[in-house]
């Protein structure tokens, strides 16, 4: 009995000493870095970035090592932007590594960022799973001399240098409100089917939409009856859509600013031949079968943005950050390849952002063309 416990304790002790042993052996086998303390490492990295800044005068982005962090694996929406991000950076001579958390949670993303800090990246560009939770790790990354940019979904203002916004929050909200106004002919009940309650993008758009409606008398006759959450699951989104219709028989429009939600709702409305129409934000390839004029289709038109442009612009913004062309301060300008010149503006959350442009409208005429792309 006693021996067992002692051996167990021994094992723990062994394990820890082993760790130390392996650590030092690996450090001798690789470089000299490991034996130095963390502070000197940081100093070294800071030096490196300074060196990089010096070389930047030539205006070249070559040799940059960038990490791109997604919300979760298996998200078609993110993949499109990621593909152009990678090709843009590689065309400029840099390298990109894609890193995904195991799950679409902030906890899992923290582990990924921790991993990236260990790997001397020049920059981390991420789409955040939660606004607040990444602050500690991203600050640590910035302290280590890593440039931090974000796109699609922003972490809070303190934890990023710059955010590339696919389309201004107000612009998206305005487009959606106008679509609702147009489809309802100016008056009637409408509802929102969102993703999860903590999805930061969706919440920002919904908030902006509510504000627009409250402040403009044009929309006085629109009645927002409910905000439902489908958790980005087909089954729950369908349940919620059905409940909306049963609770509000006079519902005229559902606005779903989320890709999974809009597809599930479109499928339900179309299959049941409901008179309620749909608009929102969706992927053209997912929505192709439901977009059309007349009663056979559930969605007259919907929006998204230029996904490829988003990837490309984020790539240029990240490379410019590493180069020191921009620091993320308000009013700075930089050239993003073929996309032209962009200015850094103030974001709603008090940080700074670069706005790509206006949302794209997908109508029955152009949806199949875009469906080929994404």
């Amino acid at each position: 009995m006693k021996r067992k416990v002692i051996s167990a304790l021994l094992c723990v002790a062994m394990a820890t000493t082993l760790l130390a042993g392996c650590g030092s052996s690996s450090s001798t086998s690789t470089s000299t870095e490991a034996e130095e303390t963390e502070e000197t490492e940081e100093a070294e990295e800071a030096e490196e970035t300074e060196e990089a800044e010096e070389t930047e005068a030539t205006g070249s982005y070559a040799g940059q090592k960038i990490a791109l962090v997604g919300k979760s694996a298996g998200n078609a929406f993110f993949e499109i932007a990621a593909a152009t991000f990678v090709s843009t950076v590689e065309a400029e001579g840099g390298t990109v590594d894609l890193a995904y958390p195991e799950e679409a949670t902030a906890d899992a993303q923290i582990k990924v960022i921790d991993n990236l800090i260990s790997q001397d990246y020049d920059a981390i560009c991420l789409s955040a799973n939660d606004t607040n939770a990444l602050q500690a790790k991203l600050e640590e990354a910035m302290d280590a001399g890593i440039a931090v940019s974000s796109f699609d979904s922003a972490p809070n203002a303190e934890s990023r240098q710059v955010f590339v916004n696919q389309a201004g929050t107000t612009a998206v909200a305005q487009a959606l409100v106008d679509a609702v106004y147009d489809i309802t002919d100016g008056a009637g009940q409408w509802a929102i089917l969102s993703a999860t309650s903590q999805a930061s993008n969706q919440n920002a758009w919904i908030e902006a939409m509510e504000e627009i409606i409250a402040n403009d008398d044009t929309y006085a006759d629109l009645e927002l009856v409910e905000i439902a959450y489908g958790d980005d699951e087909a089954q729950k989104s369908t349940d919620q859509t059905e409940a909306l219709l049963q609770n509000y028989p006079d519902l005229e429009v559902i606005c779903a600013p989320t890709t999974v939600g809009i597809a599930a709702a479109a499928k339900y409305l179309q299959d049941n031949g409901s008179s309620c129409k749909l608009t929102g934000l969706g992927l053209p390839s997912e929505m192709e079968a439901y977009t059309g004029d007349g009663d056979d289709y559930s969605c007259p038109y919907f929006y998204l943005w230029d996904m490829e442009g988003l990837g490309s612009l984020s790539a240029y913004a990240t490379m410019a950050l590493v180069n020191g062309e921009i620091t993320g301060a308000l009013g700075e300008t930089f050239t993003a390849g073929d996309l032209g010149e962009f200015t850094i503006t103030e974001a709603d959350d008090g940080g700074t952002e670069i706005v790509l442009g206006l949302p794209l409208e997908f109508t029955p005429e152009n949806v199949s063309e875009y469906a080929e792309l994404y």
Partner: protein, 330 residues
């Protein structure tokens, strides 16, 4: 006298109690929102929960032998994603072929799980937890790192979910056929009875000449088969295949079975119980937004209601057990 025996029969049978709970739920929800109890609404209820309902049958078999399977939704994602990608890149078309492929993938997945559990004596929860990660990862890998197969990519495959046969949606027919088949299978076939035998007392079953290992292999293969079917149904009903579909849904299936009176230690549970259990769970989930519970509070209510149903069931069971004992004493 006759009335008393009827009352006794109702309180004595778990299924009757569950049916009572279900009817009570129906009445309450209809009181809040009359549109709940319409034929189209009820059809939608079954259609939107077809996946859970069909897979509850497999979980019933697994739980009858004292096992559990939490890899089912990963199997579903793998098989669903596989046919989604095959349809998207035009390797296959139509409705029957994808169904066969999905079911075949499901059978293979289930068979592997069954092998590990029956031959290597790995506890079911551990084995299926491992396979949960493995199959889900394979689902991601075959999706080319995150492609989705959308409605237009699926072509005519998903049409079955919108066509009606004899006034009922085809999905509902599939559910009905599954339940009728399993009712017959579990009650009237030798293999079905063997599953019960293994669950009630594995040693006794072994001694009486039943190959316990093969029965275990069989139930996990059945579970895999139904998961594959569930994959095809999921892709068809929602006209979309994504690698992360139904993540976490295995708990709904398990909850449906437990609500339906299926014992987690094996040996007890019926097809009718599984049906009523999954219907009760489906009704709870569907009813929450209808009775005017705010969207943020819906999950809490769902949890509380599951707990209440399970606890009430236990209390009623205790009462009926006590009554049965009383009868014996006299």
């Amino acid at each position: 006298m006759e009335k008393k025996s009827l009352w006794k029969r109702i309180t004595g049978s778990r299924e009757a109690l569950l049916a009572l709970i279900l009817i009570l739920l129906f009445i309450i929800v209809t009181g809040f929102n009359s549109s709940f109890l319409t034929p189209s609404s009820l059809q939608q209820l079954i259609k939107n929960n077809a996946v859970t309902m069909v897979m509850a049958l497999g979980m019933l078999c697994v739980m009858l032998v004292g096992g559990i399977d939490i890899s089912i939704m990963s199997t579903l994602a793998l098989s669903g994603m596989a046919i989604g990608m095959l349809l998207k890149y035009d390797y296959i078309s139509g409705t029957i072929v994808p169904f066969i492929i999905a079911i075949a993938i499901g059978i293979v997945c289930g068979f592997l799980v069954g092998l590990v559990i029956s031959r290597a004596d790995v506890p079911p929860i551990i084995a299926t937890m491992g396979f949960m990660y493995i199959y889900r990862a394979m689902g991601y890998l075959i999706s080319n790192g995150g492609e989705w197969a959308s409605a237009s990519a699926l072509g005519s495959f998903s049409d079955f979910a919108t066509t009606k046969f004899l006034g009922l949606n085809c999905v509902i027919w599939i559910v009905i056929v599954c339940y009728v088949f399993f009712y017959w299978f579990m009650k009237w076939t030798r293999t079905g009875r063997k599953i019960y035998a293994v669950g009630s007392n594995p040693e006794a079953a072994d001694v009486s000449g039943i190959n316990v290992k093969n029965i275990k292999l069989l139930v996990f293969t059945i579970m895999g088969l139904l998961s594959g079917l569930g994959g095809a149904l999921q892709v068809g009903i929602y006209a979309s295949a994504m690698p992360n579909m139904q993540k976490g849904g295995e708990m709904d299936v398990i909850a449906a079975c437990v609500i339906g009176g299926v014992s987690m230690s094996g040996g007890r549970g019926t097809v009718i119980g599984a049906l009523l259990g999954s219907l009760i769970l489906a009704t709870i989930v569907k009813a929450l937004p209808l009775v005017g519970i705010g969207s943020l509070a819906q999950n809490t209510f769902k949890g509380v209601l599951i707990l209440v149903v399970v606890v009430v069931n236990i209390i009623l069971q205790r009462i009926s057990d006590r009554n049965a004992l009383k009868g014996r004493e006299m």
